[in-house]
């Protein structure tokens, strides 16, 4: 019986907890049981970790589980799998693919990464050059991918390749699941301006991928990739962010604790950013309320654009406010973090890492194009690559 309302769903969770005491159950066993009970992501179909319920109802499940301190699947560690691979597998995967991949993806037993961007294909993702050539029941893949977080921990990757260079770029792409433990997959850390290496370069040399690991039709990979990119994770439910949370708290704390740093110019700059941060917080809260009410809109792209600039301004001001201390950095040693933590390190780290905010997940410039064209209906960019075979494009 599918719960007909959130009260019945709450009862379902409580019944599950009565049978699986989180305090007395092994973490992984608990997560597997939760998946099998359809309480992993309630909007997914029965049998694939869900109950076919509205996505917004997941908050009910999460709240019940959080109340008893049940273990979670450490979502920040498996964000690519949850947010990008899973919805794509659900939309385009065969039954075999869905039942093979989704459960260990959700429990975190198998980490996923994303092999999309290339050195020559960033904002212009559809221009990518990694080749896949058919060989019997397999495909032979050669190329180079970049900005792959978690590649060094990942069991699987979602991969977009070029399968037909003789047609315009969007039409010759094919989407695969790639086994990261296969021979020919080489992962190298990509050191970034903070000194650490959150991301990787991935070199693919004669990697043999079975055709059974293809997602969607041959040469229909762009449509599949769109599904992945549209499913940038949207946080539903969860607690509201507190006032003065996040980066602004570093500024306000320094301001309150250290009166000797205060100047009129800094005061004005601080208050301007405090206002912007509070407004951004309210905009995030409003977006959550819209989603909860079943009125999703394009506002998330506005908040991403605003957040990138704001985070950069706040972390920049903090360094200036600190004066001499801002001249120092904590550690340039190359680390391999599995989660991004803006606040746990020095202000210099926050400043440098926030430079990525306006580049990762779509540059702010591309985001402005998307907003102006898709939300505001302004004319598209003039395109010289639309009707040209990929192999003939200037590069």
């Amino acid at each position: 019986m599918t719960p007909a309302n959130t009260d019945e769903l709450r009862d379902r969770v409580r019944g599950f907890l009565a049978e699986h005491d989180p305090a007395a159950t092994d973490r992984l066993e608990f997560l597997r049981a939760r998946f099998d009970a359809g309480l992993a992501w309630v909007q997914f179909p029965v049998g694939l970790g869900g109950l076919g319920l509205p996505r917004a109802w997941q908050g009910v499940v999460d709240a019940e589980l959080a109340a008893v301190h049940a273990p979670d699947n450490d979502p920040r560690r498996i964000g690519i799998g949850l947010g990008m691979a899973a919805p794509t597998i659900l939309a385009f995967g065969t039954d075999e693919q869905k039942s093979r991949y989704l459960r260990p993806l959700w429990t975190g037993e198998e980490v996923w990464c994303q092999l999309f961007s290339e050195p020559g294909a960033g904002s212009d993702l559809a221009a990518l050059a990694t080749r896949a050539v058919r060989d019997g029941d397999d495909w032979i893949v050669n190329g180079q991918k970049v900005w792959t977080s978690m590649a060094h921990e990942a069991r699987w990757a979602i991969l977009v390749t070029r399968t037909d260079p003789d047609v315009p770029k969007h039409r010759g792409l094919t989407y695969f699941v790639c086994n990261m433990t296969d021979p020919g997959v080489e992962v190298r850390p990509l050191r970034q301006i903070t000194g650490e290496a959150e991301f990787n370069e991935v070199f693919l040399t004669d990697v043999r991928i079975p055709d059974a690991q293809r997602l969607g039709e041959v040469n229909d990979g762009w449509r599949v990739a769109q599904t992945t990119l549209m499913n940038e994770r949207v946080a539903i439910g969860g607690g509201s962010a507190p006032r003065e949370g996040g980066m602004i708290s570093l500024l306000t704390q320094a301001w309150r604790d250290r009166p000797e740093l205060r100047t009129p110019g800094m005061h004005d700059a601080l208050l301007r950013l405090w206002v912007d941060a509070e407004v951004a917080r309210l905009a995030g809260e409003r977006l959550r309320q819209q989603l909860r009410a079943g009125e999703p809109g394009p506002e998330g792209s506005a908040n991403k654009l605003v957040f990138a600039t704001l985070n950069q301004q706040m972390s920049g001001l903090l360094l200036e406010l600190l004066g001499e201390e801002g001249l120092r950095y904590d550690d340039w040693t190359m680390r391999r973090p599995t989660k991004v933590d803006f606040y746990g390190r020095s202000p210099g780290f926050a400043y440098l890492r926030s430079k990525g905010n306006s580049i990762e997940g779509g540059t702010s410039e591309i985001l402005r194009n998307i907003i102006s064209e898709r939300v505001l209906g302004l004319p598209g960019e003039i395109r010289i690559d639309k009707d040209v075979a990929w192999k003939d494009l200037p590069r």
Binding site: H267, R272, V279, S301, A302, R368, I371, L376, L378, P379
Partner: protein
């Protein structure tokens, strides 16, 4: 931040928006608004009667016992958004917000009922540049029920029947109601063509005392907070309309054989404006919701809304002029009506700087 704020619009609020927008489209399209600005009838009193009396919008936040609609400043804020979109020349802010809130807190039921029903029109006798949280004004003194002094740059006083006047009676804060007809009202040549100000002079004018001491101060402050919160919604509506005008024009204006809206130099600025509007809507709703719930967070909510929304509205209006090029610089195009309203309103009831200064004290970020 006691109860969680509702930052969305209810179905009833959207219905209200549709009906107000419909009336304004018919009665206050920009050609009509522009045609009025150099006449003797600066306010559209027929439209004001429709909105206040026939549609019952003047008494939205007033209880039904006092002749109002029993709604709240959330609904008033929706009306303000629509009035901002149309830069409509009606004394809604002065009468349905400033005077109404002051009379309500002062407990002046007779006058409140008269305003709520639309039978009479009122305003608050303070300079329009007064910021919320300002000291109680000392420009008018009262002695034996007679008021003496002057107040400059008062909003919506020209069409008012009554004025709620903060005055000092033997040094004690007091609120009086005076008949506007007894005052000397001198129109000001105002930067804002669609919301003209005037100077008031009190030469021993008879007034009725409606509150004194702490209650008078509370009524005065409540009116200014509500006014500033509602102006944030008005500026939101205005900014939204400015962006729409810019979009319409840049999609249809061709130069170098392409719509100028296809250039990133313009597209990206409009995208940024839209992103700003998404932010502004959240904070304007928050301020209105706090006012509706009489939340303790009103001072912070109003300061944040005041500091954020007005600068955005000014930018939207300035960009509207710029993106229209030559036509946007002419008297015949409505862009200047919006620019003048936006810039004036950014000074009214507290500049962004004044709101930030207040905020610094409220959230323990001292200079």
């Amino acid at each position: 931040m006691s109860a969680p704020a509702d930052l969305l619009y209810s179905d009833v609020e959207e219905e209200l928006r549709r009906s107000v927008r419909g009336v304004l489209a018919d009665r206050a399209d920009w050609t009509k608004v522009l045609a009025r600005v150099e006449t003797d009838e600066r306010y559209d009193l027929a439209l004001w009667r429709t909105l206040s009396d026939e549609m019952g919008l003047a008494g939205l936040p007033v209880t039904e016992d006092d002749g109002g609609a029993g709604a709240s400043l959330r609904e008033t804020a929706v009306v303000m958004e629509e009035l901002g979109r149309a830069v409509a020349p009606v004394p809604f802010l002065g009468s349905a917000v400033l005077a109404t809130v002051a009379l309500s807190v002062a407990g002046a039921h007779d006058e409140l009922t008269a305003l709520a029903s639309g039978a009479r029109t009122g305003t608050l006798g303070v300079s329009f540049a007064t910021a919320p949280g300002a000291a109680f004004p000392a420009v008018v003194s009262a002695d034996g029920g007679r008021l003496t002094g002057s107040v400059t740059s008062v909003v919506d006083a020209l069409p008012a029947d009554l004025v709620v006047v903060p005055a000092l009676a033997a040094g004690k804060p007091s609120l009086y109601v005076v008949d506007a007809a007894d005052l000397q009202r001198t129109p000001v040549v105002s930067l804002d063509l669609t919301r003209p100000l005037c100077d008031l002079r009190f030469d021993g004018v008879a007034g009725r005392e409606i509150a004194t001491g702490e209650q008078a101060e509370r009524a005065f402050h409540a009116a200014l907070y509500a006014g500033a919160a509602m102006l944030a919604s008005e500026q939101l509506g205005l900014a939204e309309r400015c962006l729409e005008m810019s979009l319409d024009y840049t999609k249809s204006r061709y130069q170098f054989a392409r719509p100028i809206g296809s250039y990133q130099a313009l597209k990206h600025r409009m995208a940024d404006l839209w992103a700003g509007l998404v932010q502004a809507r959240a904070v304007a709703r928050y301020a209105a919701d706090c006012c509706a719930r009489a939340d303790d967070d009103i001072p912070v909510a109003v300061a944040v809304a005041g500091a954020f929304v007005s600068p955005l509205a000014v930018r939207a209006a300035e960009e509207c002029v710029q993106m229209h090029g030559g036509i946007g610089f002419t008297w015949e195009h409505p862009a200047h009506l919006y620019l003048k309203r936006a810039k004036s309103t950014s000074i009214a009831l507290g500049t962004a700087d004044a709101h930030r200064a207040t905020l610094g004290q409220l959230v323990d970020l001292p200079a």
